[in-house]
């Protein structure tokens, strides 16, 4: 169980415009790191780049100890079609995909693990409920149960506490701490600085480029946060080709 990510001058973006610009650094194995920054800073883009949904525009990224398909990734707006007639139990069981695949049997051991995951997120009693009948917070718990089953050494969470009440957020945060204790690598995009200060030892503050990266207390200083806020959000359609690549 060791998943490490290394970025070397990584640029990610859309249609040639950089959203994450010349990122260098590493997320060490077992890290619990918060990714913070203003809207449009490239936080979600960075996670998408790590799971391989975006190809780098420049630079390189290396995953050590894990394949892209083994990463447990919780997107910001999960594209779940909740009108599909599927119950919580079946939905959560998809977390076992890497183990059972398209044809593998879900035997007694797997059923036990599914029940454990549902219990761990506090959804016992909801097993047979259709996912369309869940509230926003319950659905988020459901998605966390699936993440639990994925049993991944690298977990990426994009704004996991969005539109979730305090109790649910606290419960889910406990799960994240548990993952950290189990030496899994966890990176989460967050907006609530209080949560970050309390629970995340390491933080990377980005505003398209890295503003600061290190122990949370050193990163979340007023100076750094102000610098991040000064980022210019809009893409410039008349922008020149990035000179730093040419210099390198």
């Amino acid at each position: 169980m060791a998943a490490r990510i290394e970025f070397q001058d990584l640029t990610l973006g859309y249609d040639r415009h950089p959203a994450v610009h010349h990122l260098t650094g590493a997320i060490e194995s077992g890290a619990l790191i918060a990714v913070v920054g203003p809207n449009g800073a490239g936080k979600s883009t960075l996670l998408k780049g790590i799971v391989g949904m975006l190809q780098p525009l420049g630079g390189r990224m290396r995953l050590d100890g894990i394949a892209p398909h083994d990463i447990a990734y919780l997107p910001q707006l999960a594209e779940v079609d909740r009108s599909f007639p599927l119950c919580v139990y079946d939905f959560v069981s998809m977390g076992l995909w890497r183990k059972v695949g398209a044809f593998g049997r879900i035997g007694r051991g797997e059923r036990g693990r599914i029940e454990d995951a549902i219990r761990a997120v506090g959804l016992e009693g909801f097993e047979r409920r259709a996912i369309g009948t869940l509230s926003g917070g319950q659905m988020q718990r459901c998605l966390f149960a699936r993440l639990l089953l994925q049993d991944s050494s690298l977990i990426l969470l994009d704004e996991p506490f969005n539109a979730v009440d305090a109790k649910t957020a606290a419960d889910l945060l406990d799960l994240i701490r548990r993952w950290h204790d189990e030496k899994r690598t966890v990176a989460a995009v967050l907006h609530d600085m209080e949560t970050v200060r309390r629970s995340f030892p390491e933080t990377v503050l980005i505003a398209r480029e890295v503003v600061a990266w290190g122990p949370t207390a050193e990163v979340l200083t007023p100076t750094n946060l102000l610098a991040a806020r000064r980022m210019i959000e809009a893409f410039d359609d008349a922008a020149h080709i990035c000179a730093r690549d040419a210099a390198a």
Partner: protein, 289 residues
């Protein structure tokens, strides 16, 4: 009396028995496909695909006359080309699948009409348009049975990734490369069923035995297994009912089958236990917890 009404037509006439076997085989495969089309919000895709098949079948007819293999292959090629082309374009460009599919099937339809008129022959395409469920020969019955069997087996094999592709495609992409393969396999099943269906019901109505039972079933259950079961039952009963109706009232049989399915849909709209009108307008008293 009941015997005269329900059994005699089939006992007496071989063509009725053939029609029964053919349409039941069709129901077995097409109805579950319709369920997934509906759940993926692709109900109209079936219709578009049916139009895409028409020119292929027409070309087959032009080249080889009323030959089952020629028309089947023509329809399959045209349908698969449109499905694959639309899917590939949707994945590689900014256009979404619905817009791409609309573009592709219209081009395919226009191309078919041009080819037909260029040959200048006065082709009778009534068979292709409205089918001939009362004139199913052994070959066609085998085709229909093969399509039904193939569909059920394939669905069983791809069920898990197919459900995942419907519910949470991004998650499937993040754990596996199966998404695109599953999608194309499913579209191939749609095409196969439409091509099988047009021999019995015609290209325009083949979609009916797919979508009407599925839509009706959705009003009775919230469970996927239930949906598939109920839609197959409705499709089968519509086939039997439609054939009997056409026999006793001398109606064209293909449309009669679809009309009975339409009747089942209308009844479900009113009485359906899972979202029908009665439940909507006369809600039951609420529970304690």
């Amino acid at each position: 009396m009941l015997y005269d009404l329900l059994i005699e037509p089939f006992a007496e006439f071989e063509f009725m028995r053939r029609a029964l076997v053919g349409s039941l085989a069709l129901s077995l495969g097409a109805a579950p496909i319709g369920v997934f089309l509906m759940l993926r919000r692709m109900s109209l895709t079936g219709d578009a695909m049916a139009h895409a098949i028409l020119p292929g079948a027409a070309i087959g007819y032009l080249l080889a006359g009323l030959s089952l293999p020629a028309m089947t292959i023509g329809g399959l090629v045209a349908g698969l080309a449109v499905a694959l082309g639309a899917g590939a374009v949707a994945r590689a460009t900014v256009l979404k699948e619905d817009a791409t599919l609309a573009a592709f099937y219209l081009i395919s339809l226009a191309l078919g009409v041009v080819i037909v008129s260029a040959r200048g022959s006065n082709v009778d395409l009534l068979h292709v348009l409205f089918g001939s469920v009362l004139a199913l020969d052994d070959q066609t019955l085998l085709l229909l049975a093969g399509v039904g069997t193939g569909t059920l087996i394939t669905l069983a094999v791809i069920l898990r990734p197919l459900v995942l592709e419907c519910v949470d495609p991004a998650f499937l992409r993040s754990v596996s490369h199966a998404g695109a393969r599953v999608h194309f396999t499913f579209m191939a099943l749609v095409v196969m069923n439409l091509v099988g269906g047009f021999h019995a019901l015609g290209t325009l109505l083949a979609v009916g035995i797919m979508m009407l039972p599925a839509a009706a079933a959705r009003l009775w259950t919230n469970d996927l297994t239930g949906l598939i079961g109920i839609s197959v039952i409705i499709a089968g009963l519509s086939s039997i009912g439609g054939l009997l109706l056409s026999y006793h009232l001398s109606l064209p049989s293909g449309p009669a089958i679809i009309l009975v399915a339409g009747g089942a849909y209308a009844l479900s709209l009113v009485f359906g236990r899972a979202g029908g009108a009665i439940r909507h307008f006369l809600p039951a008293r609420h529970l304690e917890a």
